[in-house]
């Protein structure tokens, strides 16, 4: 029973994907839409193959911006959460402004970012950071505040210093939360980088990245290539998410209940 259900779980996404492709062809045939409005999956794969050199170079460029912004968000998010976790006054004083930062649409900030960070990679990294920063801070802060009260009592009983309590107790017990924040950020970082490239990448005169390709293919009305760019962006996102899943496993699998299996 258990084995068949597991196989079934693996087959399900493939099945739904096939169904979706079938539906896609159905709509295309029934509606009589032309290739430049709704290309078929095969046409998209063909376009991807045709544009493979540009797509790969662009994906590499986007990956660089996304990774840099993601790492910056991971590091600054961790540090900011530590500050917020240390004191109630810092939390009360800073958290509303973090919310303000999060709620200001990035599109509004983009011209300002270009003005300050400059166009090209610095601007792209800043935008990526801005988009992926908040979920990390919010999760990690929640984690630092969710420490088991008996564990805290244990540390107090042992006359542990505030620093010891933070480093040996609160930070490790917040790791599942931090990693959950990173997982959300991993889905956002490539999107942030592509958006950044679309908005500020084209003025740099460099290779551009996927966001610039979107701009370029769109003006040339290369719709299958546009779909191929979307596909490439998806794959890039999957790589980011898979990397964080691997990190999550490496950090937590030995002790965390989320990795509880039938291995005793």
């Amino acid at each position: 029973m258990k084995k068949t259900s597991r196989l079934f779980l693996w087959l399900l996404p493939a099945l739904s994907g096939l169904l979706f492709v079938g539906l896609w062809y159905g709509v295309r045939t029934a509606s009589g839409l032309q290739s430049w409005i709704l290309p078929t999956p095969v046409e998209i794969l063909a376009a991807a193959w045709h544009e493979r050199v540009r797509l790969l170079a662009a994906a590499g460029s986007t990956a660089l911006g996304a990774l840099a912004g993601f790492l910056l968000a991971g590091a600054l998010g961790f540090a900011t959460a530590l500050l917020l976790g240390v004191s109630r006054s810092l939390r009360a004083g800073l958290y509303p402004w973090l919310l303000v930062l999060q709620m200001t649409p990035v599109i509004v900030l983009t011209p300002i970012i270009v003005l300050w960070a400059g166009p090209g990679l610095p601007g792209i990294i800043t935008i990526t950071w801005l988009i992926s920063f908040f979920p990390i801070v919010a999760n990690m802060t929640q984690g630092l505040l969710s420490t088991d009260m008996n564990h805290v009592a244990l540390f107090r009983m042992a006359n542990a210093s505030r620093l010891q309590e933070m480093l040996l107790l609160r930070v490790p017990s917040a790791m599942p939360y931090y990693l959950a924040g990173l997982r959300i950020a991993a889905t956002l970082a490539p999107i942030g980088a592509i958006f950044g490239e679309y908005m500020v990448g084209n003025s740099s005169g460099g290779t551009g990245g996927l966001g610039f390709l979107v701009y370029s293919y769109n003006t040339q009305i290369k719709i299958p290539a546009l779909f191929a760019t979307a596909l490439t962006s998806c794959l890039l996102g999957f790589i980011f998410v898979a990397a964080v899943a691997a990190l999550n496993r490496a950090v937590l699998h030995k002790w965390h209940d989320s990795f509880e299996r039938n291995d005793h």
């Binding site: 008996n150 564990h151 244990l154 540390f155 009983m157 042992a158 542990a160 030995k254 002790w255 209940d257």
Partner: protein
């Protein structure tokens, strides 16, 4: 000279949280060196609060409390607390959990590991130092917790219903092991429990508490000599003591306001 001084001394102590109701009323209690005192009573009678006061986790409202000749907080480094659940840090191995109090004291890694290994062997867990808590059974976790509490050789051990979640066989075995450890380490103990037979088996004094507000209702002296053996539980004198404590408990529960 220290052996003459009480380990814990409550004098007319009252406790309330903020403007809330009185949790503990007029507690007068002296725990002598070598005592194994059990606190038993209906839920809400403030048994655990007494442990919190002694450990300095929570201050008294009125009256005085001295622990090991000083304030509860000052006495912290000579006492240890064993919680209701094992409260092991899940991201540390059994060995590293036992090392924790030593690490917090700044002891170097080498001697720290040696001491922890010794303690684990003492509670019969020499085989599992690299296991994480989730790989251990409830009884094993509690043994690690006991080993951790005893690494610093405390003079006073506070136990808050440590075996409440275990099955009876494991609980009995751990009771016996705790007494064996006590023969060796000579700590004084204050033990909170819901089990009358556990209290009688372990203690030389069983204090029955009443609720609303929490207060000491009566005391039963248990004068069986230590070391105590498991067969003690089957002797009629043991049963007589259990009955005596149970009678006191029934009286307390009958008079409790609803």
């Amino acid at each position: 000279m220290e052996s003459a001084a009480p380990i814990v001394k409550f004098t007319s102590l009252k406790k309330r949280y903020g403007a809330g109701p009185l949790i503990l009323d007029d507690i007068n209690l002296t725990v002598a060196p070598g005592d194994f005192v059990s606190l038993i009573g209906p839920s809400g009678c403030g048994k655990s609060t007494i442990l919190k006061l002694v450990s300095g986790l929570s201050p008294g409202t009125e009256g005085t409390l001295t622990v090991l000749g000083t304030t509860p907080r000052e006495a912290r480094d000579r006492q240890a607390f064993i919680f209701q659940d094992a409260t092991l840090l899940p991201w540390l191995t059994a060995q590293r959990n036992v090392e924790l109090p030593l690490r917090l004291r700044g002891m170097a890694a080498g001697p720290r590991a040696a001491r922890a290994a010794e303690m684990l062997a003492l509670v019969g867990l020499a085989e599992v130092p690299e296991y994480y808590p989730r790989q251990l059974s409830g009884g094993m976790k509690m043994r690690v917790s006991i080993a951790r509490a005893l690494t610093l050789d405390p003079q006073l051990l506070l136990l808050d219903e440590p075996f409440g979640a275990l099955d009876e066989m494991t609980r009995n075995r751990l009771n016996e092991e705790l007494l064996t450890l006590r023969e060796r380490s000579r700590f004084t103990a204050v033990f909170v429990t819901h089990s009358v037979s556990e209290a009688v088996f372990l203690s030389n004094r069983v204090l029955v508490m009443a609720a609303n507000p929490g207060r000491l209702h009566g005391e039963v002296r248990i004068d069986f000599a230590y070391p105590r053996i498991p067969a003690l539980r089957e002797r009629p004198e043991f049963q007589a003591r259990v009955n005596e404590v149970s009678r006191l408990l029934h009286r307390v529960e009958a008079t409790a306001s609803p």
